[in-house]
Symmetry: C2
Subunit: 287 residues, 2 copies
């Protein structure tokens, strides 16, 4: 299989834009498509890429097409539209977070057109996307993973081939659900700290060195006390991931009790209008 | 106030024993008491300390008495028994984790005998107690904290004066409850990973670099997959801390929804006979 040189990148959102920029920086010949045409043109001008008017136009001549979009319906509409242009032997890599069952179904359908499909959902919000230090949780065949590796290395730092298709997505859903639960538990503590009049700095300092330490404590502890909900990862997206995770677990016969409470809290925050804010805004549902 | 040279240490359990050993190593003149007389004698022989038959005998001539025992009733019985021997101007330091309200009441009663009282609950299980790298969450007056600092420095690394009496204990209860929730959420993930046939090593590797990363993931992820529940921190003690935390929060008018689910899960594991095992055994309540 030829080394990948030309890459189509579809979806230039909070995450997709810096990820695509890192591919351009690494020397890949890039064509880009995103829902808003001006955004693609601006990106193309800035990073020496080619802006495409449709996913199919972006995929034209590319050995690999990457999707970084909100959920499975968007992945399907992009990849199924691009498939005829991709052609036999091409590789489609979905780096969005979607349900494992949906990922498997998309892979099967693309295979019928001779297109390899690999999933590579990521962890780490915008700063890690910019630094090219994302964690990438790949799911698919060994050969597809090997072909995609140079692309992943341009975007990520911890790159793990978790297993067959669906296993990368399931790992992503589980880790995000842990993050959602940990952040909601942090929000509960923040509310108590405020009510009791504890010193927030002292609390965050001891918490970081305690059994309650976590990635979200370091990232969201300060913002929660300051009520800074500028989105690094949108609450609506976290809620979507938790819901996919609960559904997958249920299909396996496992009831996630903490995950279910988290779902209730994030849903309440979303209903109150915090869906476009950072998921740290789960605090509003605890208050 | 004179520098503390002679210290009475009461409670040589999983945590107390290495903490007292670090005080001896740092040059403090140590007398020790614990429930089992032979344990105190063995410790005394090994570390050049004096074994005492009662808390009062241990406190005789000491400028400071430290307690490291399971809960408030034990703290009270030790310190109230030792108080007459301690004498005016002495310092009592409780490093156990107990309810903030109980800590405040104990402090008030000791003050009537002219004894200063400081709380200094710790985070970090046995390995950090051995290395002298505990996190210490002090609550009390500035003067008492300053006097205790050389002792704390022999046992801990991250030493924070959180605030007045009760605030150290509340910080400890909140951080442990976050740890309890994070560990239970991890257990939920572990059960799904097993059911879905995901590779445990790959899962733990990506999880460590994900939004779901946490102190308990690093400490308990491996043991949960291996079902190694050898106690570094007993499940019964975690359950006690979560219950104290829920009660304190409720008194402040805050309902901890995730904390409540965690309480149910740890209680179920304890009822099934896992109370003396490590709190990683919360896994058994999720399965």
């Amino acid at each position: 299989m030829a080394r990948i040189e030309r890459v189509a990148f579809c979806g230039l959102g909070i995450m997709g834009s810096p990820m695509a920029a890192n591919l351009a920086r690494a020397g890949f010949e890039l064509s880009v498509w995103t829902r808003t045409a001006q955004k693609a043109e601006r990106f193309a001008a800035e990073h020496g890429a080619r802006a495409a008017a449709t996913p199919a136009e972006a995929a034209e001549g590319a050995e690999a097409t990457i999707t970084m979009v909100p959920d499975a319906p968007e992945v399907e509409s992009v990849l199924f539209a691009a498939a005829p242009a991709l052609g036999e032997g091409a590789l489609a890599i979905d780096m969005s977070t979607i349900a494992p069952t949906a990922a498997r179904a998309i892979g099967q359908r693309l295979e019928q057109d001779g297109i390899d499909f690999l999933e590579g959902p990521v962890s780490g919000s915008r700063p890690k996307a910019e630094d090219g230090t994302l964690t990438i949780m790949a799911g698919g065949e060994d050969a597809a993973f090997e072909r995609a590796l140079p692309l992943f290395e341009a975007m990520g730092e911890r790159i793990v081939h978790v297993g067959p298709r669906g296993h990368g997505q399931l790992a992503k859903l589980l880790t995000n659900t842990m993050g959602a639960v940990n952040a909601a538990a942090l929000a509960e503590s923040v509310v108590v700290v405020k009510k009791a009049g504890l010193n927030p700095e002292a609390f965050l300092e001891v918490a970081a060195g305690s059994a309650g330490g976590s990635t979200v404590l370091g990232l969201k502890g300060g913002p929660m006390f300051e009520r800074d909900f500028g989105p690094l990862f949108k609450l609506d997206h976290m809620l979507k991931d938790v819901r996919h995770c609960l559904a997958e677990a249920r299909a396996l016969g496992v009831e996630l009790r903490l995950g279910t409470v988290a779902e209730t809290l994030y849903a309440r925050a979303a209903e109150a209008g915090h869906g476009e804010e950072d998921f740290a805004a789960v605090l509003t549902a605890v208050e």
